[in-house]
């Protein structure tokens, strides 16, 4: 299954679900809902964390957190 951390920079994908329930509610509050289109906007120089464009703004999260977001398309 593809996750958000598999996306290349500027590549788009649509959130299909989460693998971590506790983190999921926090991500959803921030606008990362299933069905939302996201793209990777920035990757920090050491490969972690990354910043995604979602719901019209930029959100940064760690790679392990991106791994818990599954992507379709």
């Amino acid at each position: 299954m593809r996750t958000l951390s598999d996306l290349k920079i500027n590549e788009k994908g649509t959130i299909s679900g989460f693998t971590d329930d506790t983190l999921a509610v926090k991500l959803m509050e921030m606008g990362c809902l299933p069905g939302t289109e996201v793209s990777v906007a920035l990757v920090a120089p050491l490969g972690d964390p990354l910043a995604i464009s979602v719901a019209g703004y930029q959100l940064s999260l760690r790679k392990e957190e991106a791994l818990s977001i599954t992507i379709e398309g």
Partner: protein, 702 residues
């Protein structure tokens, strides 16, 4: 209808929504900062003049939803849910970023459903215009069921309409925006009945957050736990259902009322981001900014610090003249005024540091620094968000430790609190300056590097390394079940607002003065007692003994200096110094240094003043140079060798680099960790590190 006197209006909104700027516009400079009762979250409130009388405006910490993730956010929920809370508002203004409506409206719909009268402010409307977002305010207001006001907090546009809206009365909406009842009808029903709640969403929040609500007692929490267990209430599940449900409604409403252009060109923010998070440039810019801050603190703080010191010196001599000689005179001048001077002299450095920090935060750069440093910091057990406290620690550990509240993982926060006092704060500087001048020759290395400057830099580096290594060790020692998250908004870049920067400087300086001030002044008075009183024949006959020891034709000044030095030696402090001499002997220190170690226990910078008293140096002289000269001449009475060798000098520098020696920091750590356990461990650990390193340093250099 005009508001009755005593109306309280709470300002709530997402971080970066311009809420604080709006608060400053509404209240002007008529603000008070204080604490929320029982917790250590800064409370900002101010009064706002309206046609029908003034209202109190309370600025609540920024939050993305009513579900708190940090300590600061917790207060929002407490204030809103607890109707008996002294800060419980009569009316709420929800500030939303108009250019980012969807996410901002989540919090709004939650607040609205608590049944409080609400005004929705669409702030930063200028940015929304620039992005060509067309918002139909009339229909949006109808769909959300709320009075909407648009503002531009940069220009102040819309503030008058907002004030007008505040003075009007708002009807509470009868129907919830999103009805939570179907999610847990039995639990909501039972809790509503038990606590007499009228509002379903409030009851739902009791169930969601029961364990964290401070206003409920243990028995009430237990009742809620039982209710939840009985009805299989799974808070994660219900919260996701609620969030998804709310966003679904919000999306529909936004689609109906807001139209946005297809896709704009790459924004300025993303262009800047490409540079400041660049592999090489990103770090060059970050460390360049650090150097700039560091240089400015030293370059600009010097003259205001001199000014403060000189005015206090004049105040001291004035009081010495005016007050009748005696205990009261000494208490006021040597105890209280010198304590006050010791606090206020650091304000210039703290003000400059926080000017920079606030500029970086206001502009949006700080979150990029956090983004850039997170991986590196995590390798040593810290967190990207530890960057701000560690930098602040270079000025003063007190505001630095308070800045750790933004770290939501308890373990990361505790480690940051624990290691921050290792960063060389401004109180260490006078100690370093005197010792470096004493034992490091004024020479140049390779013709360009000033050797004294290099040693000073080395000491700062030493503190930083101690912080990093200690954090690394604690990463393995501390066990925690709680997980840390790093989900953080990267806000668009903005021009900083000077008013906000100035207010931040003012607030931080005030916090420092009050927090550090009360401890330092209290301790100064205690130390003054210890250093001015003693027991035994030698202390009570000090005058005669000193007269006997001096050569025949001594001047009054020589006599006074000799007397105070003699008195200090035979005072309680002197006795302590002699008692600890065997312990500090291996570090190369004698009992005189012992006295200075004890008197500077509460605040490091006292070291310099004590040294000048011990060695009978008059206050009028150019202190630093005189003390240094006097120390250089000091001989060991047994061996005849100089006491202040390079070995002793370096050993002392290392000791002061690592030792806790700051009561105010301990008091803040006590407050922030809610107990004596951590400050005690911290003090024991830092003293041990200081002692051992000073021992090793002394052995190497001698």
């Amino acid at each position: 209808m005009a508001d009755k006197k005593g109306t309280r209006v709470a300002l709530i909104g997402n971080p970066n929504s311009g809420k604080t700027t709006l608060f400053n516009l509404l209240t002007g400079l008529k603000q008070k900062t204080g604490n929320f009762p029982g917790v250590t979250v800064d409370k900002k409130s101010g009064s706002c003049k309206l046609p029908g009388g003034s209202v109190e405006i309370v600025d609540l910490p920024g939050t993305y939803s009513i579900y708190p993730k940090t300590l600061d956010e917790q207060i929002v929920q407490e204030v809103l849910l607890d109707h008996t809370h002294p800060q419980h508002p009569d009316k709420v203004i929800v500030v939303a970023d108009a250019s980012n409506l969807k996410r901002n409206l989540l919090l709004f719909t939650q607040i609205r459903d608590l049944g409080l009268p609400v005004i929705l402010v669409l702030n930063m409307i200028d940015i929304a215009d620039k992005r060509q977002l067309k918002i139909d305010l009339r229909t949006l207001g109808i769909d959300l069921g709320v009075k909407i006001v648009t503002t531009n907090s940069h220009s102040g546009e819309g503030i008058d309409s907002l004030k007008k809206a505040i003075s009007q009365s708002q009807v509470k909406s009868k129907r919830a925006f999103y009805e939570v009842e179907p999610l847990a009808s039995e639990a909501i029903g039972e809790i509503s009945e038990r606590f007499g709640l009228q509002n379903n969403y409030t009851a739902f929040q009791y169930a969601q957050q029961s364990d964290h609500l401070k206003f409920l007692d243990e028995e009430e929490k237990e009742t809620i736990r039982r209710t939840k267990a009985k009805h299989g209430f799974d808070h994660n599940h219900t919260q996701s259902e609620e969030t998804i449900g709310r966003y679904k409604l919000i999306s529909e409403i936004i689609d109906r009322n807001v139209s946005s252009p297809a896709v704009g060109p790459a924004s300025l923010t993303s262009k800047i981001d490409r540079i400041v998070t660049h592999k090489v440039l990103g770090y060059v810019i970050f460390f360049g900014l650090l150097m700039l801050i560091f240089q400015s603190i030293f370059a600009w703080a010097e003259w205001p610090m001199d000014l403060i010191e000189n005015s206090f010196a004049s105040a001291t001599s004035w009081f010495k003249e005016v007050l009748p000689e005696g205990v009261l005179n000494d208490l006021v001048t040597d105890g209280i005024i010198s304590g006050l001077a010791g606090v206020l002299v650091f304000i210039p450095q703290i003000a400059i540091l926080f000017a920079f920090i606030s500029l970086l935060e206001e502009s949006g750069y700080m979150s990029r620094a956090v983004f850039l440093m997170d991986k590196l910091m995590r390798a040593v057990g810290l967190n990207g968000k530890s960057v701000v406290p560690l930098i602040s620690g270079l000025a003063c550990a007190i505001p630095a430790i308070m800045a750790t509240r933004s770290i939501d993982s308890w373990k990361d926060r505790l480690i940051t609190i624990f290691v921050t006092p290792f960063m060389s704060c401004s109180a260490r500087l006078p100690v370093y300056t005197i010792l470096i001048g004493l034992v490091v020759p004024q020479e140049y290395v390779f013709g360009i590097f000033n050797l004294q400057g290099l040693v000073l830099m080395g000491l700062y580096l030493l503190g930083f390394l101690a912080a990093i290594l200690s954090a690394f060790a604690m990463k393995f020692i501390l066990k925690t079940k709680q997980r840390g998250y790093f989900v953080m908004e990267l806000p668009s870049y903005k021009l900083p607002q000077w008013k906000n920067v100035l207010l931040t400087i003012y607030e931080k300086s005030k916090t420092f003065t009050l927090e550090a001030g009360k401890v330092i002044i209290a301790i100064s008075i205690i130390l003054w007692v210890l250093a001015s009183y003693g027991t035994g024949e030698k202390f009570s006959n000090a005058e005669d003994n000193v007269k006997a020891s001096l050569a025949k034709d001594y001047t009054q000044e020589e006599y006074d200096l000799a007397l105070s030095s003699y008195k200090l030696e035979h005072s309680f402090a002197g006795a302590f110094g002699k008692t600890i001499e065997p312990v500090i002997r291996p570090l190369g220190y004698d009992w005189k240094i012992g006295i200075a170690l004890i008197t500077s226990f509460a605040a490091r910078e006292v070291f310099v003043g004590t040294m000048s008293t011990i060695y009978s140096i008059g206050a009028d002289d150019d202190e630093e140079a005189t003390i240094r000269e006097r120390l250089r001449q000091e001989k060991n009475p047994e061996t005849g060798e100089p006491v202040y060798t390079q070995a002793v000098g370096f050993s002392l520098m290392v000791f002061y680099a690592f030792a806790m020696q700051c009561m105010s920091t301990l008091a803040i750590v006590y407050r922030e960790t809610k107990g004596w356990r951590w400050p005690m461990i911290q003090m024991a650990y830092m003293t041990a590190v200081a002692y051992l390193s000073a021992l090793v340093t002394f052995q190497i250099f001698s």
